[in-house]
Symmetry: C2
Subunit: 301 residues, 2 copies
């Protein structure tokens, strides 16, 4: 069993969905990733929050066994994001972004985190992602995420980053934008051509595609739900479940990666059942196994 280090955001989200609004609830890529991964292995979190960040949120993250000694509290306000899914549950519309202390984020990796063999560089400035990699010693299995903003403004840094990661996770619109290809297979091949051993294109309720060695390895639908409460964080818990499962097994072979894709989908499906990370508060490991088996049943012919 390997430990995972995740570097990303811890945020306060205000979200509008067809069923209502939430205000300043716990969010952020590192939050969702670490809680998703925590069901599989030990997780070390690096992020920054402001002095206004509620103590109970820290306790909550910690309650999943996540090591938050790398969660710095800086003078100022916590990163805030406001989004809406009113038009389309598959696609968040950003209403407001207030970076606050996150604008000055300079990740410090605590000494105690150095034994993490798996690294997840959540969606932050690619220059920061590269900086982190430069400062990590030894052989690491690295995954990363990104977003349209970085693709448009820091494409070259992102390409450089691709040379140094094993796994890249992007959603389909990001993969299309980055590659300039509208066909999703071509987009996946483009990502592989930049260096990663595996490219995972996430398609929301339509599932995910895993690319490797210049071919499609696996297509999976999403675990569909009758009631979707809030899709925020689904992509990050997907990556958390995926990388978490791999770190737990410690193997990066075809069979493990295939299972990781299903575990990622399963964790994402729990996320969307409630706001913030609330669904995970009462989640048991056996619930994950039950849904994993159900998912295999639903998708196997």
């Amino acid at each position: 069993m390997s430990k995972i280090l995740v570097i990303g955001s811890v945020a306060l989200d205000s979200i509008t969905t067809p069923s209502g609004c939430t205000k300043e609830i716990l969010g952020g890529s590192a939050t969702y990733f670490s809680i998703g991964a925590s069901f599989f292995t030990a997780v070390n979190l690096v992020a920054t929050v402001g002095t206004d960040f509620p103590a109970e949120h820290k306790s909550l993250i910690k309650s999943f066994g996540v090591d938050i000694s790398g969660l710095e509290t800086k003078q100022g306000k916590t990163f805030r994001w406001a989004g809406s899914y009113v038009d389309d549950l598959n696609c968040a519309k950003t209403i407001d972004t207030q970076l606050n202390v996150f604008a000055e984020f300079k990740p410090n990796i605590p000494e105690s985190y150095r034994d993490s063999d798996f690294i997840f560089l959540a969606n932050i400035d690619p220059d920061l992602q590269l900086y982190i990699l430069k400062n990590l010693k030894g052989d690491k299995v690295v995954g990363c995420d990104s977003m349209n903003y970085w693709i448009q403004t820091k494409g070259e840094a992102l390409k450089k980053l691709m040379k140094n990661v094993s796994f890249v996770f992007l959603n389909d619109s990001e993969a299309r934008l980055f590659s300039g290809e509208s066909n999703i297979i071509k987009a996946g091949k483009f990502l592989l051509s930049l260096g990663p051993k595996f490219a995972i294109i996430k398609r929301g309720e339509y599932g995910a595609i895993l690319f490797t060695e210049d071919r499609v390895l696996l297509l999976t639908p999403a675990f569909l739900l009758e009631d979707v409460s809030d899709p925020t964080g689904a992509g990050d818990t997907f990556a958390g479940g995926f990388m978490g499962y791999l770190a737990k097994t410690g193997k990066i072979d075809t069979d493990s990666v295939r299972k990781a894709l299903l575990y990622g989908s399963v964790m994402a499906s729990f996320t969307v059942e409630d706001s913030s990370v609330n669904r995970f508060k009462k989640l048991k490991k056996e619930d994950i196994e039950t849904r994993y088996r159900k998912f295999r049943e639903l998708t196997m012919a």
Copy 2:
């Protein structure tokens, strides 16, 4: 092995895709369905064309072993459809529809077709679909398709039809419109509540969902292709492969229906590789088996 009877349209299509235009090529729901199904079992076709319908198109349909003695030629012009996929390969925009002789279509089922145990009512007026069912004797396995126009204008007839079919095939926007539900699981349950034993919701490049007995039975992604030439007819060859495989096995159990879903996806994937039914001219049964195995490999965890 059971025979399939299909009642639908045989048309001349003019289609614009990102890669170019085609003019008055062979199309129509019954054409695509029957050719898709012909690789699995004997197919009897009922449709109508005008006196302008090219003899070589008749020969082509016949060359797949499809019985076209139910293809009537009426004084007048053949049904013409013009569509475009320039904005979105997943969604046809209708540019022009000229019903011509199809406007007066009154299906006559030849005596020699009466031993067909499987029936596919392709997308035509629901009142005609009901009329056909009323005139068929004996126990039949019936599948049907429809479209937004009939849902909006003949919703009650369509609901009545649902009571009399085992399989309904709709795409996701049609299922959402018919059910008034935006959630696809709820839409599928609505379809089942109307009577069919199985509801299949087609999602283009995102695959298909099979619903049965008030629960999701199977989710499948589409067999993705790097180069999509023309998506026209994918849905009808999907249904052709699906119903064709079932008619061939003669069984309607869970295992057969699951396999049928994959065979439907495989046949649809061939359709989009070329314009009209051109891809099928050189298709061999072993090509289908090869792609079926590949598809299972790609989708199984």
